[in-house]
């Protein structure tokens, strides 16, 4: 489990690499270009920095980049890392009654491949088209179906947000006011909340990206409180290297997350600053969390 509070004391004695380091996971999207240049060397670097688990990105055409999925898993494990989660997007962005079977079939083969990769979690990071309450209903059905397919293979299926999920759409039977000043009532429903309600808790969990939640004008803590069992994993992300912007209060985020039982998280870094490699950014993030007193 990424970022889990699994004891590191025992392993610290046997594997010097892990000595004094916390169990922290990395979303490898953070260093796609620098990693794909040389995957075996890159995985070793991730391990050397101190990460213990990874969440994949880049699955396409039933392969991980140029590698067969089993080959890829071996490379990761040879580096001393464990694949615990993966991000994948189905081939359709707009769901219709006509394409749900195609999407379902795609999930079946994708789940098969991810069993081979050894993941515990399979996560969709791209938002399907949602403009109306009917869209939400269909998305809920498609998500539940994906969740069932994954569950049958022993994998948990989840959804990862950006900021667009925090836009509002009209409640059933209402029209959102438009035009300047048409503002006070009604305000509509938040898409993210509707996604929670349209999906089955036994089939679909949520991986909350705390940075994108803040960019969506929302407070992650409010959501932890509102959906304590649905949000099971976090993306720990900031403007660039963790802890350097003025936008995120990670101390409050970690404290609240632990208090409701969230123990799994992945670091993600997207905007690498000038004069910094992706690996340097990824290291900066690890060091921040490893040194932070509020991270277990």
């Amino acid at each position: 489990m990424a970022g889990s509070i699994a004891p590191v004391i025992a392993s610290a004695k046997t594997t010097p690499m892990g000595a004094g380091k916390k169990a922290i996971g990395l979303q490898i999207y953070s260093l796609m270009k620098e990693l794909t240049e040389n995957v075996p060397a890159g995985m070793k670097k991730i391990k050397e920095i101190g990460y213990s688990t990874i969440e994949l990105a880049g699955y396409n055409n039933r392969k991980m980049g140029d590698y067969d999925v089993s080959e890829y898993r071996k490379i990761v494990e040879d580096a001393g890392l464990k694949i615990t989660s993966a991000h994948v997007n189905p081939p359709e962005r707009t769901y219709t009654k006509e394409n749900t079977t195609k999407i379902s079939d795609w999930w079946k083969q994708t789940v098969e491949d991810h069993v081979k990769l050894g993941v515990g979690r399979l996560i969709q990071p791209g938002m399907p088209t949602i403009e109306t309450q009917d869209d939400v209903k269909l998305v809920g059905e498609v998500f539940n179906n994906a969740g069932e397919i994954a569950k049958a293979a022993g994998i948990k299926w989840g959804y990862h947000n950006h900021n667009m999920e925090f836009k509002r759409i009209a409640k059933p039977g209402e029209t959102l006011p438009t035009g300047p000043g048409a503002i006070l009532r009604p305000v509509g429903d938040i898409v993210y909340d509707l996604m929670m309600e349209a999906t089955d808790p036994s089939l679909v969990f949520f991986e909350m990206d705390v940075y994108w939640t803040v960019m969506g004008q929302m407070d992650p803590l409010d959501y932890f409180e509102k959906y304590p069992t649905r949000i099971q994993v976090l993306h720990i992300k900031d403007r660039s290297v963790l802890g350097q912007s003025g936008m995120m209060n990670f101390e409050n985020i970690f404290k609240k997350a632990y208090s409701i039982g969230i123990n799994e998280f992945y670091v993600e870094i997207e905007k690498i600053k000038a004069n910094m490699t992706q690996f340097e950014g990824v290291k900066g993030c690890f060091d921040y969390l490893n040194n932070a007193s509020f991270v277990k």
Binding site: P180, V187, G243, Q244
Partner: protein, 343 residues
């Protein structure tokens, strides 16, 4: 060279003074309160001031100066300043507005001249223009920036610094450009005449990083609004430590806690919807008059509660609002006083 030498001296002095005060139990932190935060203030001004002083606040930014009467909560400016002093606090800043019309420069400057005269009497160092809906064209904005510079000159004549306070509406692009309003305003106003007060909460809601802006414009942001959704430091937003560190590093000292009224979830949603509507207007280059007209048309109907802080001025309601807001304000003070990154 010269500049870096000065910076070094400042840094050394800062080190010295902080080590000198280390361990001094009674050394007061320089913490400020924007009294906009004190809802129902005018129902018991002295009681509120005493509570603020007890919380540990030492400086104030007021927002109840009335440009029409020249009075503050019905008091003459000198009397109001004396009232603050009675409780050991100093009014160093004010959110105030005069006429702002590029077609009437003379009238605008006369109005602000009066504002600055009254604030000079009060002993204010800063007067801050709290919010504007800006022109949606580059030419229009240039004229507004020129007017800001002229207002700043009027302030300088009286030994006052004139500034502008952001919300999130300044963090959208000017129509048909790739430039944010905030960047344009900073680039087109004279650093000697116009400074900026960064509201750290609203800039974040606008999707921009307070620390990056403090680094990008180290000399332009002279004041901060330290704000969160409600009590400072309670959400998953805002890295106050990084913000204070950069603000002090830039050589500044003055900032104010600002809080909205305590709201229900529904009230908060409506408040944010209203602010986002303003942001949309700014993004589309629309104008405030349309906004206000429609807002009046869409105002709460009978049986719907008005937003907190607005509506009936029943003394009992006022007293209750005051009690509630002072409780929140104390919690914000407690957070900042116990934070070792706050000087």
């Amino acid at each position: 060279m010269k500049k870096s030498l000065v910076l070094c001296v400042v840094a050394v002095l800062a080190l010295f003074s902080s080590s000198a005060s280390f361990g001094a139990v009674n050394a007061k932190k320089h913490i400020g309160i924007a009294t906009y935060s004190v809802k129902g203030l005018e129902s018991n001004i002295e009681g509120a001031f005493k509570a603020l002083a007890d919380d540990g606040y030492v400086v104030m930014e007021i927002s109840n100066y009335d440009a029409n009467t020249g009075l503050v909560a019905g008091y003459k400016p000198t009397e109001y300043a004396a009232l603050a002093k009675k409780y050991g606090m100093e009014i160093i800043s004010s959110h105030a507005r005069g006429k702002f019309d590029v077609k009437d420069v003379e009238g605008t400057l006369a109005a602000w001249g009066k504002v600055f005269d009254d604030h000079k009497i009060m002993g204010c160092k800063y007067v801050v223009f709290p919010m504007n809906i800006w022109s949606g064209t580059v030419e229009g904005l240039k004229a507004e920036c020129d007017l800001m510079n002229k207002i700043g000159e009027e302030a300088n004549k009286r030994g006052i610094k004139f500034g502008y306070h952001n919300h999130h509406i300044e963090f959208v692009n000017i129509p048909n450009t790739n430039q944010l309003y905030e960047d344009f305003l900073i680039a087109n106003t004279d650093p000697d005449k116009v400074f900026f007060q960064m509201d750290v909460y609203w800039i974040t809601v606008g999707g921009q990083d307070p620390v990056a802006y403090l680094k990008k414009y180290p000399t332009r942001f002279k004041l901060l609004h330290i704000k969160d959704e409600y009590v400072v430091g309670e959400t998953g937003k805002i890295n106050y430590e990084a913000i204070f560190n950069q603000f002090y590093k830039n050589g500044n000292t003055d900032w104010f806690v600002e809080m909205e009224a305590k709201m229900t979830k529904e009230q908060r949603e409506q408040s944010m919807a209203m602010m986002n509507q303003m942001k949309n207007i700014q993004a589309q280059g629309g104008n405030m008059a349309d906004f206000m007209a429609n807002m009046m048309k869409n105002r709460p109907k009978d049986g719907q509660a008005p937003p907190p802080g607005f509506g009936p001025q029943d003394p009992k309601v006022q007293a209750e609002m005051l009690k509630t807001s002072l409780e929140g304000i104390k919690l914000s003070a407690d957070f900042l006083l116990k934070s070792d990154f706050v000087k």
